[in-house]
Each structure stands twice: as C-alpha cells, then as structure tokens.
C-alpha cells in the first residue's frame, strides 16, 4: 500500500492525460487534498490562489467549503477534478465530475440530451443515452419538460438539469461549484431541500463549494472554512445533526454563527 500510495500521488491528475480510468483506484479514497499550493501567473504578476490548502472527504461524505469570494474555491474544485495540478502539495481524488457555477447547458439540446451529455461524451448512442436519462428527469421534477430547450426552462429547472448531467456522469465524486448561487432565495431553498433528499438516496462523495454558510450547515457532514486569498483551511466544523435539517433549528443556527465567526464576520 505505501508504494501504491506514492504511485497514485505521482500519477494523479496529469493535465495532459484527461482520461482517468487507468488510474482509478480499486478502493474508493474519497478526496484528499494535502497542503496544496497553486499560483497563477498573470500580467500583473504572480497571484497565489491556494497556499497550504488541506481538505479531506471520506467516501460518501458531504463536505461543504465556504470562504470569502475569490479565495480559490473554484481552483480547489479544479484540482479535485484533475483539471489543474497543484504547484506543491498533494491531491488524491476518486474520479470527479464538475458542476460549474453557471449551468452551461447547450442551448441546442433539449433537457434530456443535456442531462445525457456525459453519456454521449463517453460514446453512448443517442437513443440509449436519452433512455438512461429519462427516469432521472422524472425523479428530478422535470417530467413534462424532457423536450424543452434550456431557454424554455426556469432557472431552477436549468440548475437541476445541470446537476443531473453531473450525476449521470457516474463519477464517485461530485464537485459542485456554488450550484445555487445564481438562483433567487426561494428557489434556492427549494433546491437545497431537494439536493438533501437526493444525496440521502445516492451515496456520493460531495465537495460543495458555497458562499452561503447556512446552505453549508444544512447540507453537509462537515464544513471547511477557507481564508481569503490565498486560500487555506482556517476552521473545520463537524455537523453531527440528524437529517432533515432546517435552517431555523437552534443547532443549525449555532453552527452557522460559529462558521461566520471563523470567516471573520463581526457579530
């Protein structure tokens, strides 16, 4: 095992080789980010995005990452998805599918084809891919909208199609980048409840990046609080509360306040 660990570390997330089946570990590891540094060179010079960022998500665990805007949360997800390499430190992750902040649905495809995009990306024939996506659309509350193009869907529906697309990629890890940030407050609440019930049924390792502390506490098993740029972990809160949780539960409120305190928000 030690030798193998080194091996995975050496091969993990090679940017030039996006196909990852060959380095998929036999046993799920979840996600492990250790002391990762990542710096970008821009015209204005070196911009450190992450400095000594650490995060662990056990298989099946839901970890929320909260932090001020621009703290490198999206960079963290790209490291986990293997889209970037850390400059220093170590990232090990089971294969992860990304759900970007914007829904990025393809405007020429209907909801079913959009949801099935990950299957098509692997070469599944169109009819077969649509067939596989269809029952999911109903479970995601999109019955009757299977043939609607994104322009005909509401913001919440588009976000659900985008989420379904990520789920149907069949990866053990879901990397969600502020999935509900663009929605209005009511729709966001609805979507949070709906995501909670879905994750209760589907066991996936989830790294949920959000700027909404309440959302983090309601949904996650653990909340990782990041510092302003360059991002690193400043606090980690376990959320050992039974589900379903409600945002007005006193324990939820207390944890939310602790997380806000860790973020440096004055009371």
């Amino acid at each position: 095992m030690p030798a193998k660990g080194v091996n995975i570390q050496a091969r993990a997330h090679t940017a030039v080789a996006p196909r990852r089946e060959d380095r998929e570990p036999e046993r799920p590891n979840g996600v492990r980010v250790q002391a990762a540094d990542r710096t970008f060179s821009t015209r204005r010079g070196e911009v450190p995005a992450l400095a000594g960022m650490s995060l662990h998500a056990a298989p099946g665990e839901i970890v929320a990452v909260v932090g001020p805007s621009g703290c490198g949360k999206s960079t963290l997800l790209e490291l986990i998805c293997g889209l970037q390499e850390p400059d220093a430190g170590n990232v090990q992750a089971d294969p992860a599918a990304l759900m970007p902040q914007r829904d990025l649905l393809l405007p020429w495809l209907d909801a079913t084809d959009n949801a099935a995009l990950a299957l098509r990306a692997r070469g599944t024939p169109r009819e077969q891919a649509r067939e596989a996506a269809r029952p999911w659309l109903e479970r995601f509350g999109l019955a009757g909208f299977e043939r609607s193009r994104p322009a005909e869907l509401s913001g919440g529906m588009r976000q659900r199609v985008a989420f379904l697309r990520t789920v149907l990629a069949g990866k053990p890890v879901l990397a969600l980048d502020e999935p509900f940030a663009s929605l209005d407050a009511l729709t966001r609440l609805e979507m949070q409840g709906w995501l909670a019930s879905l994750l209760a049924r589907e066991s996936r390792t989830v790294v949920l990046v959000t700027h909404d502390v309440e959302e983090a506490v309601v949904l996650a098993d653990r909340v990782v609080v990041m510092s302003p740029r360059p991002g690193r972990t400043v606090a980690e809160l376990r959320v050992l509360l039974p589900r379903p949780r409600h945002r007005t539960d006193p324990e939820v409120v207390a944890l939310r306040e602790r997380a806000l305190e860790a973020l440096g928000v004055p009371r």
């Binding site: 089946e21 914007r102 692997r122 994104p150 005909e152 990397a175």
Partner: protein, 287 residues
C-alpha cells in the same frame, strides 16, 4: 407571451399576427422575414425613389437612352424575359454553387484552423493575403487560364466569399465557453467528441452569418468574372447591351441580380431560423 407589438413590425407580420390559428413560432418567423423584406416604410421609401427617378426622366432631365425611366426598365423585364431568364439561370447557378462551395471549404478550413494552432499560424496570413488580390485584374487572367466556362466564375466567387465565412465560423468556434470544455474533460470526453457535441453545433450560427455576408459579395464576383470573359450570364448581357444603347435591358439585368441576392439573403435567414431556432432564443443561462 405574444410577440412584441413593436411599431417597426412589418405590415405582413401585422396581418399574420392578427390571424387566428397561426402558431406563435410561425408568426415570429414571418415577423422576421417581414421586417427584413416587406416593412411598409421600406416599400414607401422605395416607391418615393422610383417616383422621383420616373419624374426626372419623364420631365426631360436626361436622355432615356442614357438613363431609362423605371417603366422602361419594367417593360424590358417583360419584353426581354426569355433572354433575361436564360442568362439569369447561368448567373444564379454560378452564385449558388459558388456560395455552397465557399461554405463547404470555409467550414472545413475554419475547423482545421481551430483544431490546429500550428496550422492557424501558418495558414491564416495566407488567407488574409488572398483577400488583397485585386479581383478585377485577376478575373481576366483566370479566364485566360481556365476558359469561358463556369470554372473561373466559381474560383472568383470562392475567392471573395470564403474569407468572411472562415472568419465568422472561426470566431464562433473560439467563443465556446472554456468552462464547457473543462466540463467535457471531467466527463472523459475525447477531443473528437467534445468537438462533435459542443464546438461544431456552436459554430453553425457563425457559418450562417458568414454565408449571409457571402450572399452580398457573390453576385459582384459572378458578374466581374462574366465580364472578364463569357458568352452568357447577366454580366455578359449588361456588357453587350450598353454599346447597343439597350440601357433599359442593362438596368433590368441589374435589377434581377439585386432581387436575387435579396431573396437568397431572406432564404438563408429563414433557413437559419428553422434549422437553428435556439440561436434566436434568449440565452436564458443563469450567470
């Protein structure tokens, strides 16, 4: 959600909108076509211009042999109809084939240049350079080389048409959201599948835009090539008519060519709305 009742709507669109039972999508389609061709304001301006022209000639401002009045052009359209029609067919064929060839070549080239940075760096300056060739001078040389047939016309039309098509298609390919490409990578998509499912469909509106620009340039190329050496086509008709002082016939040929280009443009716009309806919907993407 009724179509917006804008004052700029075409008269035809207004009638169609009022008509019950017409599907909303159809109304939108005709709205667009109407706005393009049949806006009553456009027609009114056109009528005023034609009237002024008619009066100017009729009141003796100019010799009708030098500038025929609109009614004389109209009469020539009727009297010379079989001659004009057979020569129109020649020119129309050159234009349609030329645009289709330019579209096929432009799409293929744009895709190759998009996929290979190296190729783009090597070939793009050559494409730019090809646009500096003075077509007016080059067309007779092409005729000398390739003869009086259709081939030199197609070459000239391709030369003036493929560049806008390449530029607009290449732009559309380059405008694909990089986050979308990242997403496809986390889905383990090969380069080819990412291209097929994401980039190629996104390029099609660009291809259409390029073809619409080409429709404007193609008739000019066709006529130039015909005048450089030909024994048929509307360009040839004009060239023959002027020394014989058959100016009404020459104007009739110009009118036909212009009307044909406008119809092609409208046809392309309609085809685009039918084939790529999504390109006309509001983006609706949550930002």
């Amino acid at each position: 959600m009724t179509p917006p009742a804008r004052s700029g709507d075409g008269a035809l669109a207004g009638v169609l909108r009022a008509e019950a039972g017409v599907a909303r999508a159809d109304v939108r389609l005709w709205n667009a076509a109407g706005r393009l061709l049949l806006s009553w304001r456009t027609i009114a301006i056109l009528l005023v211009l034609l009237g002024a022209w008619e009066l100017y000639v009729d009141l003796g401002g100019v010799d009708p042999l030098i500038l025929p009045a609109p009614h004389q052009v109209a009469r020539s359209l009727y009297d010379d109809r079989s001659l004009l029609w057979s020569n129109f067919l020649v020119t129309a064929q050159e234009i349609v084939f030329g645009i289709l060839l330019a579209a096929a070549a432009g799409l293929a080239l744009a895709v190759s240049l998009h996929l290979s940075r190296t190729l783009q760096r090597a070939v793009y300056p050559l494409l730019m350079g090809s646009q500096t060739i003075p077509i007016v001078l080059f067309a007779p040389l092409l005729v000398t080389w390739l003869g009086f047939g259709m081939l030199p016309k197609l070459v000239v039309i391709m030369l003036v048409c493929f560049f806008p098509i390449i530029v607009t298609t290449l732009d559309a390919l380059a405008a694909v959201d990089p986050d979308l490409l990242k997403l496809m990578r986390t889905f383990d998509a090969t380069r080819a599948r990412t291209f097929r499912h994401v980039e190629l469909p996104a390029a099609l509106p660009g291809l259409f835009t390029g073809m619409k620009i080409a429709v404007v340039f193609a008739p000019i190329g066709a006529v130039l090539a015909e005048q450089a050496g030909s024994n048929s086509g509307l360009g040839y008709i004009v060239q023959e008519a002027i020394p014989q002082l058959l100016t009404a016939r020459a104007y009739a040929a110009v009118f036909i060519l212009s009307a044909f280009a406008i119809s092609l443009f409208a046809l392309l716009t309609l085809a685009e709305r039918l084939l790529l309806p999504w390109a006309y919907e509001p983006r609706g993407e949550s930002q």
